[in-house]
Amino acid sequence: MRPLTLSRLLAHCAILSAVLFVVVVIALKLGAVPVSLYGLGHDLLRVLFRQTSQLSSEYQLIIFDIRLPRILLGIFVGASLSVAGASFQALLRNPLADPYVLGVSSGAAVGAIIALVIEPHLALAPAVAALLTPIGAFLGAALTVTAVYFLGLRQGQIDSSTLLLAGIISASFLQAIIMFFMSTLSGGNYRGIAFWMMGELQTQPPHIVSLILRFGFFLSAAAIYTTASDLNLLLAGEKEAMHLGVDVRRVRLVVYIAASLLTGLAVSVSGAIGYVGLLVPHVMRLLFGSDHRILLPTAAFGGAIAVVVADTLARTVVSPSELPVGAMTAIAGAPLFLYLMRRRLA
């Protein structure tokens, strides 16, 4: 017997944060404009000691105004999607669940687009208007996950293949709606199809939205984490969990809302990046086991690492042009999805 202890949890998180740090440094270095590792280290130290005035302006622009914010965005988007994926998998008792596969990301995208469309007509203060997109995305995500859940029921029980079908069909339905919006909304400052369908981290959201993303991530992840040991029991089924003292209804409510919020926030700033929520929790389960008390935090780090790596590849492999980051995650994620599906059918 080797039950989880706090020190083991912290040790694993420390390792992963070290990996994340290395990945971030490499991501800062790589890009269309080459930067030496030495110069980078020098500049990072200068920033740490608040001597920003000594940075060369060109450096400052590339490293600290373009690459670093983009990496930070990737970190929070990746962590959000991955934690959302791990929670959906436990709650729906389906190892193939993921915000993208279930159509939740597309639902969030539709919500965000609708918010963008109605925003100019509402004459809101700019700060409030900036909130409208994340709120729309959250509502879109929450509505989709509710719809998919009920469509996935068969005789009152969640049926995993019905659920997946319901999710995949909802996703393609919602993507058609996105197409419709995109073609009727030509012009204006709406983002492109690639953004909403595949996701990209190229454009920085307004400062306030970034803050909401970070705050929302910590809030939702903390809410989900309070149910971590309940989720462990839910893996064995809702009835079993109930007999072991889990308030299944409360857990379901908390996790659905928080996971929808995570998905909505991520989609409103980066579009629908797929497969992160599928791939990362599975890798973390292989590495650290399926106890959610360790899975959720390691999945957050893993998601951050995965998206930063994918985005770095997306902007370097076809440099000076760029791929959407969602293309990179799909290249890695779709085969894994198929592998897991085949193994499950076997």
């Binding site: 039950p3 389906n94 309070t226 040991s229 029991l233 079993e240 109930m242 007999h243 072991l244 003292g245």
Partner: protein, 289 residues
């Protein structure tokens, strides 16, 4: 199952709250409990359980027997408090089981259900530690005490050697023992089992019932077990409740319930009943012609 002898009376394995209960004789009291299930409120009920009553003391085993779809499992859920009775009530030490908060219910009532597949593989010890969940605060990590209790639980069912094995890599009988160990780790007052002998060979069945018998006396559990095995019920139960089509026909000691005419009528097949030297009934099929 020699391992059982090692720690039957260890303090950690005793159900809590037991000390004060020795005086009050009745632990479980099922009082005129009925239930009806219908697909929607306007339709006639598809299934009803007629008012049922019985009582059980600490250390007693009650077996619920009857043909398929006679309401056995429904009654078990009503006792567990996961279903609310249409009328009547189920009292555990004087508390209505359905009204207990989730956590308290998890500390007092353990349910061994027909196994459901696990989504991700877990080891036997992880599974048994789940039985400590009702005692933990939201994020608490398992304490030394939890680990001792889980170890004891595994020892009590003779499954220490399975501790590090994965749940999907052990036999049905072994799995059933680990599931029982998880229920013991809950340190319940009331142990409910829904067809625990299903899919087990005869050796594993007898083994399980022997274990239950010993645990019931050693730990003063009240045990309610739903089963199809009339002879196991006759051999090990203190009381048997015989059900047919949602109706409790008779409750009492096995010898009083297992009467030939009654069983033949309920199961619609010729049967013979003989009393063994211990006064326990044996139900047999007459040999085919």
């Amino acid at each position: 199952m020699s391992s059982f002898a090692r720690s039957p009376s260890s303090a950690a394995a005793r159900p809590i709250g037991d000390a004060g209960d020795f005086n009050s004789d009745i632990r479980l009291s099922v009082e005129q409990v009925s239930y009806a299930y219908s697909a929607n409120p306007t339709q006639a009920p598809l299934f009803t359980l007629e008012a049922t009553s019985f009582q059980a003391r600490p250390g007693e085993i009650v077996a619920i027997v009857g043909p398929n779809a006679c309401g056995k499992s429904t009654l078990l859920k009503l006792i567990a408090g996961s279903l609310e009775p249409l009328s009547g009530r189920v009292l555990l030490n004087g508390f209505v089981t359905h009204a207990l908060p989730h956590r308290t219910r998890g500390q007092r009532i353990a349910m061994v259900q027909q196994e459901s597949p696990l989504l991700f593989p877990s080891r036997a010890w992880e599974f048994v530690l789940q039985g400590r969940h009702p005692y933990g605060r939201t994020l608490r990590f398992e304490t030394e005490e939890d680990i001792v209790i889980a170890r004891n639980a595994l020892a009590q069912v003779g499954a220490e050697h399975l501790s590090d094995r994965f749940m999907d890599q052990i036999s049905g009988g072994e799995k059933q023992r680990v599931i029982l160990a998880r229920a013991l780790a809950q340190q319940p007052l009331l142990l409910l089992l829904d067809e625990p002998t299903l899919h087990l060979d005869i050796g594993a069945q007898v083994d399980l019932l022997e274990t239950l018998r010993r645990l019931a006396s050693a730990n003063r559990y009240t045990v309610v077990v739903v089963t199809h095995e009339l002879n196991l019920a006759g051999q090990y139960a203190d009381q048997v409740a015989l059900f047919q089509k949602g109706k409790c026909l008779r409750v009492g000691p096995p010898a009083a319930v297992f009467r030939r005419e009654l069983l033949e009528q309920v199961f619609q097949t010729p049967l013979t009943v003989e009393l063994g030297s211990s006064g326990r009934p044996r139900v047999n099929m007459p040999s085919a012609k």
